[in-house]
């Protein structure tokens, strides 16, 4: 086994600075750190694969990636959800290249080995004639993703067979996912996820989305100039930032008055009885006041439930995005649109258009985000920024609210809730989790004399 190393002195500086609310900048795109992240974070964390409504029928499948591991996610004949490595066991060839479809068997184009929906090897071209009776087909089935579990229709996979259960991993985040995904009895994915490659580091994009409402007033200032968003620079800061274990977090953005700008995020009042039915009084209270939910499930899934419209009317929807690292400086973004199954059909269509106008590669808000992601990466190779000894004080500032904002004990939801979203609490917890994971069982190299 190859042990990755981290220089002891750099590691010490890193810990010290993080305790002061600072993050040394060299870690962002450092290639060795990146390798550690892939192996130690993505090798052991729950990663989002898809939503149950993307594979509705027996035989429905989608192909996905857990960073560099190709995955076939499917529903078998009994309606069970399965996930396999998308690779033929014979010579490792990628088995299926389609984005989605429905079939009974997967056949490798190289030598023709074929597998059923349970991953069993069911066909070998000229089997007994070339391999003889000794060949035990049951030993050559598709390799299952070690752990596959769902919560509120969201399917996750984990490459670590000893990983804690998805529900334990999500912890208090489940309470908020119950609002986002369960408020009306279930959400559905519309269409395919949009996919595009951005010049960005995955840590910066997850942080930008899950932990940073403070950027909204400047990055998305064009919406203020156009009179869509309020002039008040604090407008995205009203509400609570909630930090949970395993570095999950959510921002519950309300408004200056603490009340909703429009009740229940501008959903039609026909939906409100469903919310009452499916949510606890505390969850309903939050849902009635929120303008935007935005947050993330560590390491690389983020979500936003905003209110947007391009035709004057406001619509609410749910957008999940997975940040798939491709290199220290590249991210493939996968962007899903979800809406309540029970929502009127017209509203679904209008909300989809509102989504296209705001998020995803063509969304006007997200376009401006891509510019800042790229600008962070483009300057990250300089000697000053790469200096691990920190002679130039190349540290990023995560001091917002640090040791000066106390949690709000009266917030009705679980987790540690701070009474503002202009605070770096989620970001700092993501950094702590990051360091914990990449330095786990790490052989720290002794300094040479």
């Amino acid at each position: 086994m190859i042990k990755k190393t981290l220089e002891e002195k750099a590691f010490k500086h890193l810990k010290e600075k993080m305790e002061e609310g600072l993050l040394p900048q060299w870690v962002l795109t450092d290639p060795d750190i990146y390798e550690l992240e892939i192996e130690k974070i993505f090798g052991y964390s729950w990663q989002f694969l898809g939503h149950e409504t993307e594979i509705k029928e027996p035989g429905s499948y989608v192909t996905r990636w857990m960073v560099y591991d190709p995955v076939i996610l499917l529903r078998n004949r009994n309606g069970e959800i399965k996930a396999f490595l998308n690779s033929c066991t014979h010579r490792g060839t990628q088995l299926c290249t389609a984005d989605r479809g429905n079939k009974k068997t997967f056949t490798c184009p190289y030598h023709g080995w074929s597998y059923n929906l349970d991953g069993d090897l069911i066909g070998i071209v000229a089997g007994n004639k070339v391999y003889g009776e000794e060949m035990d087909k049951s030993e050559w089935g598709l390799r299952p993703i070690p752990k596959v579990e769902s919560y509120q229709g969201m399917i996750f996979g984990n490459l670590d067979p000893n990983a804690e259960s998805l529900e334990d991993y999500l912890g208090d985040m489940k309470w908020y996912l119950d609002i986002l995904l369960g408020r009306s009895g279930g959400m559905e994915v519309i269409g395919l996820p949009q996919r595009w490659v951005a010049k960005a580091n995955w840590k910066a994009t997850t942080e930008n989305f899950a932990a940073d409402p403070y950027h909204v007033q400047t990055t998305h200032r064009s919406t203020v100039e156009m009179g869509i968003s309020p002039e008040d620079p604090l407008y995205a800061g009203y509400g609570h930032q909630v930090v949970m274990k395993n570095a999950h977090g959510i921002n519950v953005i309300t408004s200056k008055t603490g009340k909703a700008r429009v009740p229940f995020q501008g959903t039609p009042d026909s939906m409100w009885p469903l919310f009452e039915q499916h949510l606890t009084p505390e969850q309903l209270d939050i849902q009635s006041k929120v303008t935007v939910f935005v947050g993330g499930v560590y390491p690389n899934l983020s979500f936003v439930s905003p209110i947007h419209g391009t035709e004057g009317d406001l619509h609410n929807y749910l957008n999940f995005r997975m940040w798939r690292p491709l290199s220290p400086e590249k991210v493939e973004v996968w962007c899903w649109f979800l809406i309540d199954k029970a929502m009127p059909e017209e509203y679904k269509q209008a909300a989809y258009k509102g989504y296209l106008g705001s998020f995803g590669p063509s969304g006007t808000l997200e376009q401006d985000d891509t510019e800042t992601w790229a600008r962070i990466v483009e300057v990250s190779k300089g000697l000053m920024m790469k200096d691990k000894e920190l002679n130039y004080n190349s540290v990023s500032n995560y001091l917002m609210g640090y040791k000066r904002v106390e949690p709000d004990e009266n917030f009705p939801g679980p987790g540690t809730a701070y009474p503002t979203t202009y605070i770096d609490s989620i970001a700092r917890s993501m950094h702590e989790r990051w360091l914990e994971l990449i330095s786990k069982d790490l052989f720290v190299k002794e300094e040479s004399r």
Partner: protein, 174 residues
């Protein structure tokens, strides 16, 4: 409909519609977005679906349920107006862009003032002082209509050839 009833695609018509597209590319590449918007009819439907990878031969690989753009004149106007603000950072500093439009094939329709036009596009973009050149390519299918003696685009569907977009965003119009 028999071919003799169809309006003939004359070299003049070919030239006029080709010029419409050259004019459009000029407006976009020179950031004259408001002028560009004038080239569309008020009932414009402007769509860009996703291309997906599908197994099989002769199988449709344009997703019918997934889009990058699904716009009306109103939502296009919002997008255009935003590009005239000071804080649409993705285009400030401005990207440098070129739309290359080729392979224009015109077909007549039942409406003598309306034509179905297929064209190829190659879009190239340069940003800041970065050395990466971004590109996108594909096909457009338009309905072009003669309105008050002017050629206008009455509907457009943009078909990208990539299933994973490699421009870092889609702030461009195609």
């Amino acid at each position: 409909m028999s071919s003799d009833v169809k309006k003939k695609i004359t070299p003049e018509l070919q030239m006029e519609i080709t010029n419409l597209y050259y004019q459009e590319a000029y407006f976009l590449d020179n950031r004259k977005y408001k002028e560009w918007l004038e080239l569309f009819t008020d009932d414009i439907s402007y769509k860009m679906p996703l291309r997906e990878t599908v197994e099989g031969v002769g199988v449709e690989n344009i997703a019918d349920d997934s889009f990058y753009f699904e716009e009306t004149i109103k939502s296009l106007s919002t997008r255009v107006n935003r590009l005239y603000t000071k804080s649409a950072w993705v285009e400030n500093p401005a990207t440098r862009q070129r739309h290359f439009i080729t392979n224009i094939i015109i077909e007549s329709t039942e409406n003598p003032n309306e034509f179905r036009v297929r064209s190829y596009f190659l879009f190239k973009r340069s940003r800041g002082s970065t050395i990466d050149i971004e590109e996108m390519f594909g096909e457009r299918v338009d309905k072009v209509r003669l309105e008050n003696n002017q050629w206008k685009i009455a509907s457009r569907i943009v078909y990208p050839d990539q299933s994973v977009i490699t421009t870092m965003n889609m702030s461009m119009f195609l």
